[in-house]
C-alpha cells in the first residue's frame, strides 16, 4: 500500500510514518519544512519519499498523489488566530480533497479530535462516545474547535458525495515524548507551578505510538462512506492520578494548586452574567474563564473507545505505565518540564 501522510513532520506524524514503514507500506511523507525543528530520522530509508510543501498552496500537491492508495491527513494548525487556523486546517483540507479527486485517490483517514464534542450538552458523569453531539456553537469555544469541525464537515461531505471513503479518528489527549500536558488538566502557570482544574475528571489519554497504530489500521481497512472512531487507551486515569504520575517524572517537581472545577465554573458563570448585563458581551474573556471552555476541559465525564477496538481490532500496545516511562526517557535522567502544551 502506498500512503501519503500529511503533517508527517509533527508529533504524531513521525510515529505514523514509522509504523507505516514497519508494516511494509510505501510512504510519501508530506512535511511543511525539511529544516528547523527535530531532524527526521528517516534518511536513506527505503520505501519513503519526503516531500516539502504547504497545503495552503494547491500547487504543492501537484503530482504527488499519483499512485497513492490512501491519504492519512494529520496536518492542522493547533495555534494561531481563527484566520490562520482556517487557512491551514480548512483551506488545506479543501485543497487536499480537490487534489485527491484529480488523482482519483479514494480513501482518506482524517485525524480529528475530542474537541469537536458539545460538552455542554453532555451531562456531568455522562459517556462521550461517537454518537455524542458535536459542538453546536463552536464560535463560543475556540478556533481549534471551529476549524476541526469544519474539517470533519468537509471530509463527511466528500464521503457522502461518493468522492472517497473516509475514516475520522478522534483521539483524546495524545501524549508522548515532550508532549504530556493538556488543557484538560488545567493551566501551567510556570514550569514550577501547575494549576489543576479539579481532580476527578478522566483524561482520555492515548500514547502516541498507540494512536499511530490505529491510524495505520484505519488506513489499511479501506471503507466506503464514512466512519468515526474515538481513540483512547484503556482505563483512562483521572486528572489527579495523571498529574501525580507526571510529578514522579518532572524535575524540579512542580507545585500543584487545585482549583475545584465547579468553583471555576461558578466564577465563569458570574463573569458571563456580568459581561452580558453590564458590558453587552463585549468583554473578551480568556478561555480558561469561559463557561463553554470549562465544560470542555474539566467536566467529570466518562469516555469510551470501544467501537474502534471492536471494528478495527485495535488494542493499545503500550499501557500507561510504559507510556509514561517512554515519555520521560528515564535512561536519560529527568527532563525539564517544558514539554509543549497542546
Amino acid at each position: 500500500m502506498r500512503i501519503l501522510v500529511t503533517g508527517a513532520g509533527g508529533f504524531l506524524g513521525r510515529s505514523v510514518v514509522d509504523k507505516a514503514l514497519v508494516r511494509g507500506h510505501e510512504v510519501v511523507a508530506f512535511v511543511r519544512s525539511m529544516h528547523g525543528g527535530i531532524p527526521f530520522p528517516w534518511e536513506g530509508v527505503s520505501g519513503l519519499d519526503i516531500v516539502e510543501g504547504d497545503l495552503r498552496n494547491p500547487a504543492a500537491l501537484d503530482g504527488i498523489l499519483s499512485g497513492i492508495d490512501v491519504v492519512v491527513h494529520l496536518a492542522a494548525a493547533k495555534t494561531g488566530d481563527l484566520h490562520l487556523q482556517m487557512a491551514n486546517t480548512v483551506v488545506g483540507t479543501e485543497n487536499l480533497l480537490r487534489a485527491m479527486d484529480r488523482a482519483d485517490v479514494r480513501s482518506l483517514v482524517l485525524l480529528s479530535s475530542f474537541t469537536v464534542y458539545d460538552y455542554r450538552a453532555i451531562p456531568k458523569g455522562g459517556i462521550v462516545d461517537e454518537s455524542s453531539p458535536t459542538e453546536a456553537r463552536p464560535e463560543q469555544r475556540d478556533a481549534y474547535t471551529e476549524t476541526k469541525l469544519l474539517q470533519e464537515e468537509l471530509a463527511i461531505a466528500a464521503a457522502s458525495a461518493g468522492r472517497c471513503g473516509v475514516t475520522i479518528l478522534r483521539p483524546g489527549v495524545v501524549y508522548g515524548p515532550n508532549e504530556y500536558w493538556s488543557g484538560r488538566l488545567g493551566q501551567r502557570l510556570s514550569p514550577a507551578v501547575w494549576i489543576r482544574l479539579g481532580g476527578r475528571a478522566y483524561i482520555p489519554l492515548t500514547y502516541v505510538e498507540n494512536c499511530a497504530d490505529v491510524v495505520i489500521l484505519a488506513a489499511e481497512q479501506i471503507n466506503v462512506g464514512y466512519r468515526i472512531y474515538n481513540v483512547l487507551d484503556q482505563t483512562p486515569p483521572t486528572q489527579k492520578q495523571y498529574v501525580d504520575r507526571l510529578r514522579e517524572f518532572v524535575r524540579p517537581k512542580p507545585i500543584v494548586v487545585t482549583v475545584p472545577w465547579s468553583a471555576a465554573l461558578f466564577a465563569a458563570q458570574g463573569i458571563r452574567l456580568f459581561n452580558r448585563l453590564v458590558l453587552s458581551d463585549r468583554l473578551r474573556v480568556p478561555g480558561v474563564l469561559r463557561v463553554p471552555s470549562l465544560h470542555a476541559r474539566g467536566k467529570p465525564l466518562r469516555y469510551t473507545g470501544a467501537r474502534v477496538r471492536r471494528e478495527l481490532g485495535w488494542q493499545p500496545a503500550v499501557p500507561l505505565d510504559q507510556g509514561m516511562l517512554r515519555t520521560f526517557h528515564p535512561e536519560a535522567g529527568h527532563v525539564s518540564p517544558s514539554g509543549s502544551q497542546p
Binding site: R32, S33, G53, D54, R56, N57, D81, H83, L84, M86, V90, V91, E94, E139, E146, L150, E153, L154, L279, R282, L283, R284
Partner: protein, 361 residues
C-alpha cells in the same frame, strides 16, 4: 460629510450588504453590519467555499458564494465590502460598480492613481458611492488631534511626522512565512504596500498640500521576502515639512502621528490610544511645561488602562472601522459626501505613487 455629492442614491435602509473576502479584516466589517441598523448582511463570498459558508452562518447571512460574479448576479446587493488582497481590489470593485452597487474597499483601493481614476469614472457613471477605508483617521486619538489642529491650538503647522512600526521579522507573522509567502510581497512596495495607505492619508490629514517627496527605501533584514523592509521619506508642502516612516525590523508595534506648530505640539498614538498635547496653557508660560508634564503622566496612565480595556473589549486598533462604516452608510443614505472623499483618496494614491517613484531612483 458636507456638501451634496453628485451621486444619485437609493434610500432603502437597511441596505443589503455583501462582503467579499472573509479574512481577518472582515471581522470589524461584519461586526459593524451585524450591529448596525443601516445594513443587513445578505451574502458572504470567499475563495474558500467552506470559509464563506461558515462566515455566513456565523454572521447570519442567508447565502454564501465562492465566486463574486455569482454573488453579484444572484443577490444584487446595495453595498459591497471588498476585503480581499490588494491585487484583486481593482477587478472586484469594477464588477461591483458595474452591477450598480455602492462599493467600500479596504486599503489600498487601487494599486495606482490611474486604476483608481477608471474606477471613479465608473462609479460616477453608475451613480454610486466608491470609497476606501481610511480607518485610523476615525480612531479617537486621531480624531482628537484633527480637532486640535483644526481649532488652531497648535498655531500654524510646520512639521508632521507619521510613523508606523510593525515588526514583521522578529516573530512569526504572515509576512515572513517562507513556506507559503504572502501575495503582498508582489505588490509595488512589497508588503509595505499593505501599510502605505495609512501613512499617506495620515500625512495628508495634517499636510493637505504636498509639493515634493523624497523617499528612501531600505532593506535591513536580508531574509525579508519583499525587496524592502523600511521606508523613510521626507515631504514638503507650503511651509510645512513632513516625515513618513515605516519600520519593520525593530521591537514594538505602534502607529504615531506628531504635529508641531507655531503654538504647540501634539502626538497621537492609535494603539494604545493616547494623545499628548504641549501648548501654552492658562497657567502661564512659566508653569505651562509643568502642567503639560503632569498632564502627560495622567494621559500615560489613562493610556495604559485604555490599552488593557481595548484588548479585553476586543477593539484593538480597528475602532475606526466602525466609525468610518457608520458615517459611510449614513452618507449613502443621505446622498451627502462620504467621510472619505474621492479627492482624499486620489491625493493619497498620488502621494503613494510619488513615494514609490523614489524607489526607482
Amino acid at each position: 460629510m458636507g456638501a451634496k455629492s453628485s451621486v444619485t442614491h437609493r434610500v432603502r435602509v437597511p441596505f443589503r450588504a455583501a462582503v467579499i473576502g472573509a479574512g481577518a479584516i472582515s471581522e470589524p466589517h461584519l461586526g459593524f453590519i451585524r450591529d448596525s441598523d443601516s445594513a443587513d448582511l445578505v451574502a458572504v463570498c470567499d475563495l474558500s467555499p467552506t470559509i464563506a459558508r461558515y462566515t455566513a452562518r456565523r454572521y447570519g447571512a442567508p447565502q454564501s458564494f465562492d465566486d463574486h460574479t455569482d454573488l453579484l448576479a444572484a443577490v444584487q446587493p446595495d453595498v459591497v465590502h471588498i476585503l480581499t488582497p490588494p491585487q484583486t481590489h481593482g477587478i472586484l470593485a469594477r464588477d461591483a460598480l458595474s452591477a450598480g452597487c455602492h462599493v467600500i474597499v479596504e486599503k489600498p483601493i487601487a494599486l495606482t492613481s490611474e486604476e483608481f481614476s477608471a474606477l471613479h469614472a465608473l462609479a460616477l457613471a453608475r451613480g454610486v458611492v466608491l470609497t476606501e477605508d481610511h480607518n485610523y483617521r476615525f480612531n479617537r486619538p486621531i480624531r482628537k488631534l484633527t480637532e486640535i489642529v483644526n481649532q488652531g491650538m497648535l498655531g500654524r503647522v510646520h512639521y508632521v511626522d507619521v510613523e508606523i512600526s510593525a515588526p514583521q521579522y522578529l516573530a512569526s507573522t504572515r509576512y515572513n512565512d517562507r513556506r507559503y509567502p504572502s501575495s503582498s510581497h508582489q505588490l509595488p512596495a512589497g508588503f509595505i504596500h499593505e501599510f502605505i495607505t495609512h501613512l499617506a492619508y495620515l500625512t495628508l490629514l495634517f499636510m493637505p498640500t504636498i509639493d515634493s517627496v523624497t523617499s528612501r527605501w531600505t532593506r535591513t533584514d536580508e531574509g525579508c521576502l519583499s525587496p524592502f523592509d523600511g521606508l523613510d521619506a521626507s515631504v514638503e508642502g507650503g511651509d510645512a515639512t513632513g516625515r513618513i516612516r515605516f519600520i519593520s525590523t525593530c521591537y514594538g508595534s505602534s502607529i504615531r502621528v506628531r504635529v508641531r506648530g507655531t503654538a504647540g505640539e501634539a502626538e497621537a498614538s492609535v494603539s494604545p490610544p493616547a494623545l499628548r498635547l504641549n501648548t501654552l496653557r492658562s497657567v502661564g508660560s512659566q508653569l505651562s511645561p509643568f502642567y503639560c508634564q503632569l498632564q502627560d503622566g495622567l494621559i500615560g496612565a489613562r493610556s495604559a488602562i485604555g490599552g488593557v480595556a481595548e484588548r479585553l473589549l476586543g477593539k484593538g486598533g480597528y475602532e475606526g472601522v466602525g466609525v468610518f462604516l457608520s458615517d459611510t452608510y449614513a452618507s449613502i443614505a443621505s446622498g451627502l459626501d462620504a467621510p472619505v472623499r474621492t479627492s482624499e483618496i486620489a491625493a493619497s494614491l498620488q502621494l503613494i505613487d510619488q513615494l514609490i517613484q523614489g524607489m526607482q531612483s
